[in-house]
Amino acid sequence: MGVFDDHKLEKLDWMTAMTETIESHLNDLLSRLPDRTLVSPQAIIEASSSSYLSFSVRSAMHELNRQHQREINYYLSYEEERLLLECFEFQVTGEPELDLRTGTLTGGTIEVVKIKNAFSDEELQPIMGQRGLEELGRGRDYTGPDAPFERMNEILDILGGCQEALSSRSGKKKINAIRDRLKKIFTTNEWRIRDMALADKVGKWVKGYISEGNLADLTNLCKLKVMTHNNMPIYSVKEEQ
């Protein structure tokens, strides 16, 4: 297998490869969650505050995640959770009543129902790579005389289109330019990265090289950049460890 081969792309069915559908752990997570789940009175009571009963789709999702913990090991970012919540809604049948004294629900049922089975690329594209970008941290982490200016410049060079930041002496400006450039690359699909997990790694590689001088991370980023010249969608990179 060559250094720049995309093993995931080779394994994809022809339709996915042709349409360049985004591969996402969110779709995997969504498919594992049940289509219908009965809401128990205990779940409602536990999710409520000490003086106010409330139960939202978010509360129901936390309960679902808890029940399926063996299968689901992701932590979700705010945007990912928001997308997932939109796939579920409550369905109330009858006229349910909750008696707090006995902890019982009578007169009807409440279910959390899945109303969507997959996320479209239009929904996933805006949040692509976000988790990795969060790893970059704050601008002020890159200030001071010990800031790794040279490594930041190398990254800016690889990403391209950051001439102003290259000539700046501010570490904060450089890292913000890196962040903005990566956001643009992801949201406009400039590099044709079609795997969410891979997109998340980009920010981590950038952080790993800038902060720790991790050459494996730099190598991975460079490989990815080279693969963008293949004029093919990218689903995976043969990573250096």
Partner: protein, 156 residues
């Protein structure tokens, strides 16, 4: 136990049974099935003023509603009414500067004068003293006379 606390102790709370329905934003909404409210007693202004201070809050841990009746606020409202009537009906030029008014301002919850002010408040509201324009009306004079007697008795 003072009279306001006795009235408060007669109030109940709702049963913690909730009707559940779908809200406009997609979340569940909870409504108390049989919401309790203290009964309305129309002929007792003191009861009415204590009733206004009733409220209940859910205690999830104890699985019930607990009531809270702010009788101190109710008593402050009673004293405020007495002070207003005194200011409005006193023959003095500047009643709010008077010794009587100063004394009224010093009265405390659960103090020895509390039963007297509760009774006086009842008289004031039942006889609509506030609406009487004639300061020589015997009912107005009664109020002022009772105030003087109370002050004399409790200052001694």
């Amino acid at each position: 136990m003072n009279e306001l606390d006795k009235i408060a102790s007669s109030f109940g709370v709702s049963d913690p049974v909730f009707k559940i329905k779908l809200g406009s934003h997609g979340d569940l909404e909870f409504e108390v099935k049989n919401e309790y409210s203290p009964p309305i007693v129309t002929n007792d202004p003191v009861y009415a003023i204590v009733r206004k201070q009733w409220n209940e809050s859910l205690d999830k841990g104890r699985k019930c509603f607990t009531k809270y009746v702010d009788t101190k606020t109710a008593y402050r409202a009673i004293l405020d009414t007495v002070k207003e009537v005194y200011n409005a009906k006193s023959p003095l030029k500047n009643p709010s500067q008077s010794v009587m008014y100063q004394w009224l301002c010093k009265q405390e919850y659960n103090g020895p004068t509390m039963p007297g002010f509760i009774g006086l408040y009842r008289y004031i509201i039942n006889n609509q003293i506030g609406d009487i324009r004639d300061k020589n009306d015997p009912r107005v004079k009664n109020v002022l006379a009772v105030l003087e007697l109370m002050k004399e008795k409790h200052e001694a």
